[in-house]
């Protein structure tokens, strides 16, 4: 009995050790993913989804690449699959709403987007969803350089103005948006409109004076991200100064500075003139020799 107890205790210890080790190994190997879904409509054309995947390691978030995700519209049935995507090295992926889902898309004024990850050796399975109401944004300008943005939401079958939406009205620059005046964000009124005065008359533009103004709604709880652009001739024309054709030390061979050509040519001609003279002298010596 004593022996049996000893054996039982030993087996129990091994069982605890193995299970404990396995549990420890599982906990330490697999991480949790955080999936963020965002909805975008640019210039009221094809809407698309953006998804970002990150994880927390050593107290810091880091983006996770090579994560396969499935994006669904309304529910995660196979027929509602928007696209299967894989995150890039920044942990991001994107997908447009495909034409195959047109009937589901048109059939409702609000939609639910779902992103699922089935899990792999490194990470546990994860899921995220996002609900949006369909909306659009319009932009208009007046002759006195006023910019008017309108936010309209789809209600039943008609577009109705939305009050109280924060709209950024700005100028699109190379890598960022520049305020059109001292205010960055404007709020729509009861007619769904927000207006801003353009106060950047001297802003450099292209050669025709064109700049691009934008109205955008960023990360709205109801409507997601909406953006619209319009090109207007309100900028200061930019006439590029091009030194390419000028005679410089950095120009092509045909455009060397005249002073350099003159100096180089005079040195070469001077030295080679002497050398040619010395060769001529050899012929003179030869002639004298043949005559002697």
């Amino acid at each position: 009995m004593k022996l049996l107890n000893k054996k039982s205790s030993g087996l129990l210890f091994v069982a605890f050790f193995v299970s404990g080790f396995a549990a420890f190994a599982q906990d330490s190997a697999k991480g949790n993913l955080n999936i963020t879904l965002s909805y975008f409509t640019d210039n009221n054309t094809l809407p698309y989804l953006s998804v970002k995947v990150k994880t927390k390691a050593n107290g810091k978030f880091k983006m996770v690449s090579d994560i396969p995700l499935k994006l669904y519209l309304n529910n995660d049935s196979a027929v509602n699959l928007i696209k299967a995507v894989v995150t890039n090295d920044k942990g991001e992926a994107a997908a447009i709403i495909p034409p195959s889902l047109k009937s589901q898309w048109s059939g409702s004024t609000s939609h639910n987007f779902i992103a699922t990850f089935d899990g792999n050796k490194k990470y546990e399975s994860a899921k995220a969803d996002l609900s949006v109401n369909r909306a659009k944004i319009l932009i208009d300008t007046t002759s006195d350089k006023k910019i008017v943005a309108s936010v309209l939401a789809l209600k039943d079958t008609s577009w109705v103005p939305v009050k109280g939406v924060d709209v950024i009205i700005a100028i699109k620059r190379m890598d960022a948006y520049l305020n059109v005046n001292e205010t960055a964000t404007f709020t729509t009124d009861s007619t769904g409109k927000a207006s801003a005065d353009f106060k950047r008359d001297s802003i450099p533009s292209d050669a025709n004076g064109n700049i691009v103004i934008v109205a955008k709604v960023d990360d709205n709880d109801q409507f997601g991200n909406l953006l619209i652009e319009k090109t207007v001739p309100w900028g200061a024309k930019f006439i590029p100064v091009n030194d390419f054709g000028k005679r410089t030390l950095f120009a092509t061979s045909g455009r060397a500075p005249v002073w350099l050509i003159l100096i180089a040519a005079s040195i070469v001609i001077g030295v080679w003139g002497v050398l040619i003279l010395l060769v001529v002298n050899l012929f003179r010596i030869r002639k004298l020799g043949l005559e002697a």
Binding site: F250, A251, S253, A256, I261, A264, L278, N281, L282, I285
Partner: protein, 437 residues
């Protein structure tokens, strides 16, 4: 007395006529030819597979080929020192050394031009340098000035040869039929008339004057290949003078080496005397001190400031990866030759020869140190650069080509010594007459 004079003159001519290779000479020529052939095979591989057979990559794009080029350009400068400067200064004791210097200069400049083409990935496009070259680029200046210097060196070798050829033609049985035909082809028109002598004398005077600025230009322009770029170790206003002083030193060192070899190989102790070693030794000391002075300026002044951009480069030279080579070049290339040659006993033929060898070997490594370490420390390092880009050690093809070019230059000198009188016969006879009178 007249008979004695005639006999002495005959003896001088007999002594100075080109001599056939002995057993050692033949082995020497074969050995050099083998090294050249190995170099040619390595170059064939480079042509076939591209510059990838070298160890040069995006960081070190100028390896031992360009070091070799700078070395050849430097050594070629001796033609202007011994021939032109000494001739214009009426330094009469230098007469036996002039042709040695001219031969070194000619062979060095030939191989400087060749090694530049070797460094090109696509040598078949070389003609584009002439068609589309930018006069704003120091590389084009180098092409122009090397061509000019080669031509001047050729004339400087050829003009003083004419009177000697007349003598050589008289000794057909000694020189051999084929060589005699060659002498006849290149100089049988020289009759030694007063007018011919006058034209030749004037031409040599003009050449001696012309070669000095061209020689200064060739090495200044070579230094500008580096100094016109904004990089640690090259960004210097002093580079022209620094290069020229170094070139004069290695040129003078190479003359001392060749003096000793020729003196012993051809038993010319009566013509290349201890006095020549004494005087050349003094010149080498002077030039080594001058070059050392420029080195102090080039390295210690930036080291005193130790700008961040220069730090890695200078530390690498003083105490880092290149330190053994750097201190070898300074000690063996400058300080030890000074210590040997500054004493009278050190200026005897053998110690002077050893010091000359040190100068030449040190100078080669010095050029390597000028070219390569700087390239390993770019101002804008590449992102995620492969580790092997950060170091450079030449591939066997590079070593074979570099050694082949050095062997080629020595082979050209050897063949020139076989074909032409190493010591100008006519000038020696003239000086002998003047001394007798």
């Amino acid at each position: 007395m007249e008979n004695l004079n005639a006999l002495t003159e005959e003896k001088i001519i007999q002594d100075l006529l080109p001599q056939k290779f002995g057993k050692v000479g033949k082995i020497w020529v074969v050995a050099l030819s083998v090294v050249c052939l190995i170099g040619a095979f390595a170059y064939y591989r480079q042509l076939r597979y591209g510059l990838v057979v070298t160890a040069m990559r995006d960081y070190v794009s100028w390896g031992i080929y360009i070091s070799n080029f700078v070395f050849f350009v430097a050594i070629s400068l001796v033609g202007s020192l011994i021939t032109a400067v000494f001739r214009l200064a009426h330094v009469e004791w230098s007469t036996p050394l002039t042709r040695i210097a001219e031969m070194i200069a000619l062979s060095a400049i030939i191989f400087a031009a060749i090694i530049i083409i070797v460094d090109m990935g696509s040598p078949e496009r070389f003609y584009n340098l002439f068609l589309h070259g930018r006069i704003q680029s120091p590389i084009i200046w180098d092409v122009i000035v090397i061509t000019t210097y080669f031509f001047i060196s050729l004339l400087l070798l050829y003009y003083p040869l004419l009177p000697d050829i007349k003598i050589l033609l008289r000794y057909k049985e000694k020189t051999g039929r084929k060589l005699n035909q060659f002498y006849s082809f290149i100089g049988s028109y020289w009759k030694g008339t007063k007018e011919q002598a006058r034209i030749s004398r004037n031409a040599l005077h003009v050449l001696s004057i012309t070669i000095i600025p061209v020689a200064f230009t060739i090495h200044t322009v070579t230094s500008w290949l580096f100094a016109t770029t904004y990089r640690p170790g090259w960004d210097s206003t002093n580079f022209g003078a620094y290069f020229i002083s170094g070139a004069f030193l290695v040129g003078a060192g190479s003359v001392v080496v060749l003096m000793y070899v020729i003196r012993n190989a051809y038993h010319m102790e009566k013509y290349i005397t201890r006095g020549h070693f004494e005087k050349m030794g003094r010149i080498v000391v002077l030039l080594a001190l001058l070059y050392l002075y420029f080195n102090v300026n080039e390295y210690l002044v930036p080291a005193f400031k130790m700008k961040k951009s220069e730090d890695a480069h200078l530390t690498g030279l003083f105490t880092g990866e290149f330190a053994p080579l750097f201190w070898f070049a300074i000690l063996v290339g400058m300080i030890l030759p000074i210590l040997i040659l500054i004493f009278k006993k050190g200026r005897r033929p053998l110690p002077a020869f050893i010091a000359g060898c040190m100068v030449v070997v040190g100078a080669w490594f010095k050029r390597y140190l000028i070219v390569t370490p700087t390239l390993l420390h770019p101002f804008l390092p590449m992102h995620n650069v492969p580790e092997n880009y950060r170091h450079y050690f030449p591939s066997w093809e590079e070593w074979a080509i570099a050694l082949g070019s050095l062997a080629g230059a020595m082979l050209v000198i050897t063949l020139l010594c076989r074909i032409f009188p190493i010591i100008p016969i006519q000038e020696t006879l003239t000086e002998h007459h003047e001394t007798a009178q």
